[in-house]
């Protein structure tokens, strides 16, 4: 049972606080070929609830998921809209393949908003049951607009055909409690509870710009709610700014054909085959079922790409202390750990028996969903905290408070380097000794974000704003801050060292939303296996892989079952980049898309790539609409490109000296470290600019990174306001 069980008295108190502010009734209709055929619009400020039709052009151009989110948001905001404007929205969608039970990784929701950190759309791909249940309740997407006058929850009952905006004065704000409260309020039996999912944030999201959304699902064996995070870009901050405590959907009755697919048989065939492949291959490949994504920590450390001490280094002698075995003792393997039905890859690990040593729940023994690799690498390695308990405890509180573990870890690593460099001191931090490795200070800073006080409020602004604050208030060198502050477009980097992979520098720098690895992960292909040596090769990879990975987000899918397990003969049948594409799995997705939607015109992986290309270019244009989306906004900090400091250079001097000789054509003999570092910097920064040129060309963009009118017409994106936008920037 949960440590945070909700009593009957508590439920009655919650109910007593509910007042119906708006109510909307509709006739529930079955999903047809993966689409509900309409979206739901809720304005919590004006108390408007309405539906919008999904027409054929919307399906063809935007497919679903992130595509639908972006299209709805585009139509809701103007170029003057800011993250905290009433017209900004949180849009959440599944996708036509979402909610398929037979194939692993089909329960994802994609959440989009104008980000408090970047000012442009952020998209975050998250597990939990919300997206599929929303679709089966009758809606391909949910738009939440406006700012409520008082605390509310939005409740969607897909069985009754009812949508309500309810006052919610008594509900908890923090997700670990709120998610339990929603299940207790709206569900009685285990089956009903499994039919409920909530989206919520926490008090940390109120006090920072790095708030995340928690998407819940009910675990019937353990009799508690689990939480998955739409972490990136401050989505939770936007939810709390709207005074929404939770978005709740209820739909009881999910079956294997709830999508009403055009043809069930191929879905069952590829699904059963894929489960078998995971059964046979996962134990000898990536052990996702045993370790979740944290199996990566050892691999990254081994290849010198685990971020250590604010991305200065790629490995550390103590890294072993946060490898998987140290978390296995917390994990429980007594129930399936998929974050949607049928995900046998089961990376959503469940940690139990964690006794909290800090914060408002100190002394409580709690459960935690996770930790993911990104959390272990960000809060652990990047901050030099080689302690599994502290990483788990931070994971628990980040989720509870609604804070993104990636931005938290990367921002804290930046602050710790500033502290060690003397830019910050105890006077500035309010007594926190923010040196690398100080787990106590890390947890206290997190609780400050929860309480809304102290230095936590500064760190919660994110790196871009901190750079400005530290330069203006404390006289720090703006160039040094720019070099070591691991953000681009305002978003904190996720947790991979890219210094030796030019392609991955582009994978991060050219990502529409900011530096998140879900657009491209090319480090092995580029730096380890040397499979994409030329600029053209890299540009091709930076076309194919971002488009391919975008496709998962259009369809309500998870990327992991694509290449975190491979058929036994994948690397026999295919070589190099072709093997990295995992062609058999791509074909699975072609079959799934055809079988669910009935679209016989979709025959190959190339057809899937074309779907993504439209949405990807549209998102780029959305950035342009918001005053960004050009070359200058694809700039990246030098820490992601090469060694910023002498110490960094010297730590891998042999590697860098060799590169000076062989790549730059300079004999480093007799040069000082600083001279060598600057020579390497000139070279590497030049390489990045050449890479950008090659990628823009491949993507059909001009030299300033704007999609050409020709490209836009080819992709069917030539809506009048899109054409006007491009023409305005061509003048």
């Amino acid at each position: 049972m949960s440590s945070f069980e909700i009593s009957k008295e508590r439920i009655e108190a919650l109910k007593a606080g509910h007042r119906v502010l708006a109510e909307f009734r509709y006739e529930p209709q079955p999903v047809e070929k993966g689409y509900a055929g309409q979206t739901l619009y809720v304005n919590v400020g004006t108390h408007t609830i309405a539906t919008k039709p999904v027409d054929e052009r919307m399906k063809r151009t935007f497919i679903g998921g992130r595509g639908f989110d972006l299209w709805l948001l585009w139509n809701a905001v103007s170029s003057d809209t800011r993250w905290d404007s009433p017209e900004n929205e949180i849009v959440i969608a599944s996708g036509p393949l979402g909610g398929t039970t037979q194939y692993p990784g089909t329960g994802k929701s994609i959440a989009v908003t104008l980000s408090p950190l970047t000012g442009v759309p952020i998209d975050s791909n998250v597990g939990g049951y919300f997206g599929p249940l929303l679709k089966f309740a009758g809606f391909d997407a949910l738009e939440v607009q406006g700012i409520a006058d008082e605390e509310v929850i939005v409740f969607i009952d897909g069985n009754q055909g009812l949508v309500q905006i309810l006052t919610a004065p008594e509900e908890s704000v923090n997700s670990h409690l709120l998610a339990e409260e929603m299940v207790a309020l709206f569900g009685q039996t285990p089956q009903e509870k499994q039919g409920i999912s909530s989206v919520s944030a926490g008090v940390g999201a109120e006090h920072t710009l790095i708030g995340c959304l928690n998407f819940s699902f009910y675990d019937p064996r353990r009799q508690l709610t689990r939480l998955k995070q739409a972490g990136r870009g401050g989505l939770g901050t936007v939810l709390r700014q709207k005074r929404v405590k939770a978005l709740v959907v209820k739909y009881v009755g999910v079956k294997g054909d709830s999508n009403h697919p055009a043809d069930l048989q191929p879905i069952q065939q590829v699904g059963a085959r894929m489960h078998r492949e995971i059964y046979e291959r996962d134990p000898i490949m990536f052990t996702m079922r045993l370790d979740g994504t944290n199996h990566l920590t050892k691999i990254m450390n081994d290849y010198d790409i685990l971020p250590v001490h604010n991305f200065r280094y790629g490995s550390h002698p103590e890294a072993e202390k946060i490898y998987s075995p140290h978390f296995q003792k917390y994990f429980r393997y007594d129930a399936p750990d998929g974050c949607w039905y049928g995900c046998t890859l089961a990376c959503a690990k469940f940690a139990a028996g964690l006794e909290l040593r800090s914060g408002p729940d100190k002394g409580q023994v709690v459960t935690v969903d996770g930790p993911e690799y990104e959390t272990v690498a960000g809060i652990g390695a990047n901050c030099g905290i080689w302690n599994a308990h502290d990483v788990l405890e931070a994971n628990f509180y980040c989720d509870a408070y609604g804070i993104d573990t990636i931005s938290f870890g990367t921002a804290l690593a930046f602050v710790m380097e500033c502290y060690e460099e003397g830019i910050l001191n105890k006077e500035i931090t309010g007594g926190l000794e923010l040196k690398f490795g100080n787990g106590d200070a890390m947890l206290e800073l997190l609780h400050q974000m929860g309480r809304g006080e102290g230095f936590g409020l500064i760190v919660g602004q994110g790196i871009r704003r901190m750079k400005q604050i530290f330069a203006e208030r404390y006289g720090a060198d703006p160039q040094f801050l720019q070099d070591i502050g691991m953000e681009a477009k305002g978003l904190e980097y996720s947790e991979y060292v890219t210094k030796e992979s030019l392609a991955q520098q582009g994978g991060y720098g050219l990502a529409n939303k900011g530096p998140q690895h879900d657009e491209a992960w090319l480090i092995f292909m580029d730096a380890v296996n040397n499979q994409i040596p030329t600029f053209e090769d890299k540009a091709e990879a930076l076309h194919y892989f971002p488009m391919w990975r975008t496709w998962f987000g259009l369809n309500g899918l998870c990327k992991l079952p694509w290449n975190d397990v491979e058929p036994a003969d994948n690397r026999v049948r295919y070589r190099g980049i072709e093997a990295a594409k995992v062609p058999e799995h791509v074909q699975n997705y072609v079959e799934l898309f055809r079988a669910i939607t009935g679209r016989d015109d979709v025959r190959s992986g190339d057809d899937l790539i074309r779907m993504s290309e439209g949405v990807y270019n549209f998102q780029r244009l959305f950035n342009l609409k918001m005053g960004q989306g050009t070359r200058q906004h694809d700039a990246i900090p030098y820490r992601s490109v090469g060694p910023v400091t002498d110490v960094e250079y010297e730590s891998r001097a042999e590697r860098y000296d060799k590169q000076l000789r062989e790549l730059v054509g300079i004999d480093p003999t007799g040069m000082s470290t600083a001279e060598k570092r600057l020579a390497l910097r000139r070279y590497r920064e030049g390489q990045y600019e050449k890479l950008i040129d090659a990628v823009y060309k491949r993507r059909g963009w001009n030299e300033n990174g704007i999609p050409t009118l020709e490209k836009v017409r080819e992709l069917g994106l030539d809506f009048p306001d899109v054409v006007e936008l491009i023409e305005k920037h061509s003048r």
Partner: protein
């Protein structure tokens, strides 16, 4: 634990057990709907594949649709099943089957009807001692 046990050496490949099974549970003679599968190994040898009630599937079911009854037989509650087929992929003996007419998988419940029709006694119902079995 009640379980259907087979003796491949006695099987003559008449497929009667498959027909009886599909007719009993799906009211049609259709071997693709049987929970026993008889396949030829050549040279008049046959492989008989049927669930041994090991219960590994119970652990991977996300909805608790699979559970063991009082006789130790692993039963599927169709009303709880979401048709994810995790049990099919994770069945150690690969004796959980799928047919596109149904979203739920097809599984032997050791009813024993097939044993009554088998002309050679190649199939029998036995009660085995409970071992370390999944609950």
């Amino acid at each position: 634990m009640k379980v259907l046990v087979t003796n491949d050496e006695l099987c003559i490949g008449c497929h009667l057990c498959e027909d009886v099974c599909s007719h009993a549970w799906y009211k049609e003679i259709n071997r693709a709907k049987s929970s026993i599968r008889i396949t030829s190994l050549g040279n008049a040898e046959w492989n008989m594949a049927v669930c041994n009630q090991c219960g590994q599937c119970i652990v991977v079911c996300p909805t608790q649709a699979l559970s063991r009854d009082k006789q130790g037989v692993v039963r599927l509650k169709k009303e709880l099943c979401v048709g994810c087929l995790s049990c099919v992929g994770f069945c150690p003996t690969q004796t959980f089957y799928v047919h596109p007419d149904y979203v739920e998988p097809i599984k032997c419940i050791a009813c024993g009807l097939c044993t009554k029709e088998c002309p050679t006694g190649a199939i029998a119902i036995e009660t085995l001692p409970d071992q370390e079995i999944a609950k």
